[in-house]
């Protein structure tokens, strides 16, 4: 009874995951793609639950669906990314390469399915010791902070480095007052133009919109579109 139920749930979740993944690639609207990706993460979390790994499932939702995808959706909404327009493929050699790589991938999957699956499974140390606790919070925590402590710490430092690097790249150097021009005839304090100079009340030179655009380095095309 419960085997059939598990199988039905697996088919449903796997179908949802594959369907959402295909939809993510096929959609032209970036926000729809993002929502499809959230669907993939949700279905994967469900699959982890059927494998008796509730901790992994919860973390999957918290980290991917709840944090990373919120940021992605935020950026898509903030920049108002428009729908992708279909263009002729420029890099033609990519098409046969993709077919070849896909064939290799499917061959690997088939190999795993037909050969590795048939081989007698070696007795797993986790499965023989205490099968019921594998995948639960306590066993994962113990593993992370004893056996796998060094890889865990190295990963954290790697992520910290990536964070610091991203901040260094994103943080613009504070502009000097004379470099900044506000469109339209108005005088503004520098802190309203340049977020990095909070508290700086130096007035910014103002001018006509066209003059401002030229100083800021915007070309003619962008001006007309605005």
């Amino acid at each position: 009874m419960s085997d059939i139920l598990t199988f039905i749930v697996f088919i449903l979740l796997a179908g949802l995951a594959i369907g959402s993944a295909l939809a993510m690639v096929a959609q032209r609207n970036p926000l729809y793609s993002a929502i499809s990706l959230i669907g993939v993460f949700g279905a994967l979390a469900g699959l982890y639950l059927t494998l008796a790994a509730p901790f992994i499932a919860a973390v999957q939702i918290i980290v991917y669906a709840g944090a990373i995808m919120v940021l992605v959706v935020f950026v898509i909404m903030l920049l108002n990314v428009e729908e992708e327009v279909r263009r002729p493929v420029r890099l033609r050699y990519l098409v046969p390469t993709a077919v070849l790589l896909a064939a290799v991938l499917f061959a690997e999957a088939a190999f795993i399915l037909f050969y590795v699956n048939d081989a007698p499974a070696p007795p797993s140390p986790l499965a023989t010791a205490e099968p019921s606790t594998t995948g639960l919070t306590a066993s994962i925590g113990t593993g992370l902070f004893t056996t796998y402590l060094l890889p865990f710490e190295i990963t954290s430092i790697l992520i910290l480095m990536a964070l610091v690097g991203a901040m260094t790249l994103a943080r613009r150097t504070a502009a000097r007052p004379q470099d900044l021009v506000v469109p339209g005839a108005q005088v503004l304090p520098l802190q309203m133009v340049e977020p990095a100079r909070v508290g700086d009340d130096t007035p910014v030179r103002s001018d006509t919109t066209a003059e401002a655009a030229r100083t800021l380095g915007l070309n003619e095309q962008e001006q007309t579109r605005e």
Binding site: S2, I61, I62, A65, G66
Partner: protein, 349 residues
């Protein structure tokens, strides 16, 4: 119990009991939520020196039902340029994510029906990662608001959606970290067990005694997570008309409205469970039914605090909100975590 087990097997019998439990919990919570709305309007009325709604039924007691009928019969207006599918999806996402965490909260201790052998705990589902489940569902709840703001195709809605996404991402961190202190003390993520451990000292050994800083951080971030005053920037009516739900009307607006109050309720339940001993209190060990009243009473105190804040506090500015969240609340939460971890390491729990 036994005859049902024999009839359909233990798995299905448990499923049936959980289905009943889920529905009872939802009905109870939605009724309390309906009356929270009424209480808010009455209490705000008294704070502002007026009466508030008192005409429908004795003392306004039937006002929530009148409101609901009005919401049902209002005209549905869908903006022409909206993204239709997401526009319909967003309110359902919001209310679903608000209702889902209810099933893991223990409303009371195990109840024994006198004269029978039936014993059942007043919690719908118990599992190993209950707290993480709550945090996961809460973190998904932001999509309801963000997508509503985007799909309405209205600049005020979009601003509201953006603000809410940024705000929730920022305060989720401090919220999670403030709860880690309690988890360190109790050594489990199972809410039922966390409540059980707070039963010492005649049911008054509450976690807030050991985690005062953690509780204050939790309270502030929880108010921010539920978009309530003074953190109600996603729907700041003096700047954004009504924020993310500007273009929503009739029952879809009612769903957002309900989701906000259900979120308030679940956040108050989490505060009660984690910091105020859940259903624990003097006398619960002899009269288990008293636990339900203790639990709901504590939750109602938190709901009153929400209303009180709304009546008395002004709104943050957005840069103040971000600075406060990242530069004050998050470092304090990390400090609290370090102190708790050190104490637990050296002195045990």
């Amino acid at each position: 119990m036994d005859w049902l087990n024999n009839l359909v097997g233990p798995t299905v019998a448990r499923g049936i009991f959980q289905f009943i439990g889920i529905n009872v919990a939802f009905v109870v919570v939605l009724m309390i939520v309906a009356y929270t709305v009424l209480a808010e309007r009455r209490v705000l009325g008294f704070i502002q020196g007026r009466l508030g709604p008192n005409r429908v039924g004795p003392g306004g007691i039937l006002q929530p039902f009148a409101d609901l009928l009005k919401f049902i019969f209002k005209e549905e207006i869908v903006p022409d340029k909206s993204t239709r599918f997401i526009y319909f999806l967003a309110p359902f996402l919001a209310i679903t994510c608000a209702l889902m965490p209810i099933i893991v909260y223990p409303f009371g201790p195990e109840i024994h029906i006198p004269g029978t052998r039936i014993v059942f705990p007043l919690v719908v589902a118990r599992f190993d990662v209950a707290l993480l489940y709550v945090l996961a569902i809460t973190s998904v709840g932001v999509y309801g608001i963000a997508l509503a703001g985007w799909s309405s195709n209205n600049k005020y809605s979009l601003m509201g959606g953006l603000r809410s996404a940024a705000q929730l991402i920022s305060y989720e961190l401090s919220l999670g970290l403030s709860l880690v202190g309690v988890v360190l003390l109790s050594g489990t993520l199972d809410l039922y067990e966390i409540v059980g451990q707070q039963g010492g000292w005649h049911g008054l050994r509450w976690n807030i005694i050991f985690q005062p800083l953690g509780f204050i951080i939790y309270l502030i971030s929880a108010i921010a997570e539920t978009n309530r005053v003074p953190f109600d920037l996603p729907e700041a009516e003096t700047e954004l008309v009504a924020g993310f739900h500007t273009e929503y009307s009739a029952l879809k607006f009612a769903l957002f409205f309900m989701a906000e109050y259900v979120n308030m309720f679940t956040v108050s339940m989490l505060a009660t469970t984690m910091f105020f001993g859940g259903w624990q209190g003097p006398g619960v060990s002899t009269f288990p039914l008293l636990g339900i009243f203790y639990f709901l009473g504590k939750v109602i105190c938190f709901l009153f605090l929400y209303i009180w804040l709304r009546g008395t506090l002004p709104r943050f500015r957005f840069d103040q909100l971000m600075n406060f969240g990242w530069k004050f609340l998050l470092p304090m939460a990390i400090l609290n975590l370090i102190i708790t971890a050190t104490v637990v390491f050296f002195f045990g729990t």
